[in-house]
Amino acid sequence: MSTETTLGKPVSRVDGRLKVTGAALYAADHPAKGITHAFLIKSRIGKGRITGFDSAEAERAPGVLGLWSHQRSLKLYLTGDNFMEGTVLGEKFLPLQSDQILYHGQTIGFVVAETYEQARHAASLVRVKYEEKPPVASWEAAKQKTAEPQTVDFQAARISRTADAGASVQELFDGCEVKVEATYTTPIGHHATIEPHATVAEWVGDQITIHNCSQWMTGQQASLAEVLGIPAEKVRVVCPFVGGGFGCKATLWMHTALAVVAARELKRPVKIVLTREQAFTSNGHRPATIQELQLGSGKDGRIKALRHLVSSTSSEAHEFVEPAAHRTSLNFYSVPNVEVAQKLAPLNVGAPTWMRAPGEAPGMFALESAMDELALALKIDPVVLRLLNYAEQDLHKKAPFSSKHLRECYEQGAERFGWAKRNPEPKSQREGDWWIGQGMASAYYPGYRFASSARVRLLADGTAVVASATHDLGTGMYTIMCQVAAESLGLPMDKVRSELGDSALPPATIAGGSMSTASVMPAVKAAAESVRKKLIALAVKDPKSLLKGMKPEEITVEAGVLAGGEKREPVTGVIQRSGLAAIEATETARPGEEGRKFSFYSYGAQFAEVKVHAMTGEVRVTRFVSAMDIGRVLNAKTARSQVIGGVVWGIGMALHEESVLDPKTGRFITADLGAYHVPVNADIPKIDVIFTDQPDLNFNSLGVRGVGEIGITGVNAAIANAVFHATGVRVRDLPITPERLLTPPKVPTTVG
């Protein structure tokens, strides 16, 4: 009797049934006795101050229980802003603490009523007067204040690395035989999770529990404690299910803190669910970028100089860096002379935040578009050009890449896509009214890992529970926890269940930076192995066990049965006879010295086919192949789904998504799902996903990296490159909407 491993197999989600029946409880679904409903009051100007706040009528409205503003404030404290401690606020400008307005849609009031309808109506009855100043809401207006930040990713804002001493990268670029010099832009984007941010805040005595949309239980716990000025032990964050995060549900946002303080004052649970429009203002977005890129090579196609200069938008309320060059151009290619730089343009908008592959998503658009332009100038196949400049080691960190199989991604992706059949000539394929084109780009995302803990309990009935304060954003965490624990315990997977989404469980790191699997799974594995050791230790000491007296190392556990030689002993019997309710172990796994020796990255190759209507310029993606090197794959089904999701995001970024600011008022004019276009079903073709499935055992005991973010990277460039191939029009500004193909393209800047 042996258990076939589930690791790497396409295992269906263990939480699937709850999700397809509507039984999965998301933050706003949490029932609480005596629940009350809150609604935010938002600023309707982009900058200035409040000169009048008349809430008398609102406070008299039926059902209203409380109304707060800067006049009657809920006291909040700033946190220490330390990622390792989790005290990171989404926005450091705390609401209701003064009359100052820094952006349109800033929270200026908080009303609680018996019903949602009453709270919403009461919010509209508040009369606010403002002293208005012109907000900074465009690149042009921000020009004066645009400057380099103190640091980018703990490095200098401007980094220059040259192999030829005495010459600047600019000079080295100028001396190249073949040059591409172009400016690429990406707009502000919004996460637009289908679940809007929500909190149910419930006090019991001095203990607060928030049912909150969360990708970072421990972070939100630590942050909320500091914001309230109470010990972290008094705060519990619960979020078994989160309806999409992508970065906007990681840090603590202040609607949550306001609900908590209001609940304390009212002595009743408070529920706040943001409206869709509100979710566009003070809960993060991806900054816009302007990226100037220079790529210089010899006629042989070897790149000699690369300059990647980025300006990204930030917020007057909260500085945020979108490190588009630092996370891409510094080390993706084997380039001897590189310069990257970053500037920030502070706008009167809410805080930006991490959004799926922050830095890489816009950065790879510029870099990989420029590579396509260089390939064209050189008349070298785009895949070949990338192989010519393949980085065998991390030239920036001066360390070997731990496990790099990007070459296989290019090869396998090209093979699956049929790249060899592509006619390199632009505007050479037509089907009816549509131009057809194929393009490719590379994908890139670092392997991150932070300390995380997990607890495994093996119960007397032969089932086990694996628990960690980690998250399942739809990533499959519930499922792979069961898989890994079952594997290490020697139990069938259906005997293991997983618990997560509760800060009372053993602490785990953020579900961000694609690091959950690499951080949490080693802890799960370690805890399960500890339990197995304890079990075996019991079995060999158990006088009634057939295994009594054997050496622990001779014993295996498979399918719930201990085996030593020919002797068999069910796990259940051993535990039951021990008198223990369960065998339990909690282990913490953390990165060691490997980070000093290696550079850890995931890689991929994205291949896109598009059709572009010859008359009216609509772009539709018709085929997509994504070949990914993400380390070992634990679950082929959920990992594939995440890559597909990343590609869908890339398609949205390439063709649809754009948050537009009114330069006069600083209002997002696209702040609803009718105007902010995320892809719909009809926009998405079949997406073929390939995994190299090569374990990165330098990185952790399971050889896994992560898959949440890499899927989006390079997709935008692959599509833009395919659009160029289809039409001969190079679009360097996202999204590629029809007008960008109708209006005459900018003068080509390719010099050769």
Binding site: R44, E117, R120, H121, A123, S124, E277, D433, M615, T616, G617, E618, R620, L655, H656, V660, D662, P663, K664, T665, R667, I669, D672, G674, A675, H677, P679, V680, N681, A682, D683, P735, T737, P738, E739, L742, T743
Partner: protein
């Protein structure tokens, strides 16, 4: 914003009109897809809703070539009607290319005509709020206060077909040509139609037009589905021996009201029913447009969409 309102479900036209007449701020509720959307935003502030869904206006029929469409028929029911699709494919296509399956199941044809544009002027409680230039802005019929394009696809098709709207109020019934039903909003952005207070749309009539069998609706949008038109064109062509004899052309996404293109219709007359002829006629489509940097592309896109729609209609015709 989102204040309480009264509610009364009525069964007869007379009761509906009576109920509406008695209360200031009363509004008719049909599918609710516009009304409730805007009520939540504070942009519509009914004091009372008169639910007219039970009124017997749900027929969709084509008799002697004339289509009679009840105001309470749902978009999906009209879109599924085979006779309508045969006689007026442009109508069917305009319905199927609009919104989503769920919304088409809810939205009534009468309500469809009364949609509000998708812009801040129409989607916020403050009637004085100003708007920024945007890429979706209309290029025809714009004023300082009204610049958003009319959102209905169906109304564009009806405009091409010279349909009429049947209206009922206490004083009696009137039938208004769709050209007179919509107005350029000018300085009164909220007045998009000539409907009178308390007046109820009871039906739509589309006069017989045998060659409307050769009609089509082309809608341009960034997404492949579920998006308002950037530009759309409804076309019907009468072609004889490869030459256009008569045509109907109306456009969406470009006007503050559904926008008929009479100059293009005139220019199409006696043109060969092929690309060159269509391009020549479409060249005049942008006449009178007022644009800014962000929506200037709509002139070119409109011309090309006219050509595309004509080619498609000609293919049906041939």
């Amino acid at each position: 914003m989102s204040a309480p309102f009264g509610y009364e479900a009525v069964k007869t036209e007379a009761d509906a009109i009576k109920a509406a007449g008695g209360t200031a701020g009363a509004m008719y509720l049909a599918g609710g897809t516009t009304l409730l959307d805007l009520w939540k935003l504070g942009a519509m502030q009914p004091t009372k809703l008169i639910d007219v869904n039970a009124l017997p206006y749900s027929q969709v029929s084509v008799a002697s070539g004339t289509a009679r469409l009840g105001a309470m028929a749902r978009m999906s029911d009209a879109a599924a009607d085979k006779d309508l699709a045969t006689h007026f494919p442009v109508l069917t296509e305009s319905l199927l290319l609009a919104a989503s399956a769920q919304i088409r199941n809810m939205a009534s044809l009468g309500g469809n005509l009364l949609q509000r544009p998708r812009s801040f002027t129409y989607r916020n409680p403050d009637p004085t709020a100003t708007e920024a230039d945007g890429r979706t802005d209309a290029i025809f019929g714009v004023s300082a206060k009204a610049r958003a394009p009319h959102p209905s696809d169906f109304a564009v098709a009806l405009t091409a077909l010279d349909a009429s709207v049947r209206l009922r109020r206490a004083a009696g019934e009137r039938i208004v040509r769709i050209a007179d039903f919509y107005r350029e909003p000018g300085n009164e952005p909220q007045r998009l139609t000539t409907i009178l207070p308390g007046e109820l749309i009871t039906g739509i009539e589309v006069p017989a037009l045998p060659w409307a069998r050769h009609s089509t609706y082309v809608k341009i949008r960034d997404r492949a589905s579920y998006q308002f038109a950037i530009v759309s064109v409804a076309v019907a062509l009468r072609i004889e021996n490869g030459v256009v004899r008569e045509s109907r052309v109306a456009a969406g996404g470009v006007g503050t009201r559904p926008w008929r293109l009479p100059l293009v219709e005139a220019a199409l007359a006696d043109k060969p029913a092929e690309v060159a002829g269509f391009e020549e006629a479409a060249a005049i489509a942008g006449e009178g447009a007022k644009t800014h940097e962000l929506n200037a592309y709509k002139i070119e896109l409109l011309k090309r969409t006219v050509v595309r729609a004509c080619l498609k209609a000609a293919a049906i015709a041939g």
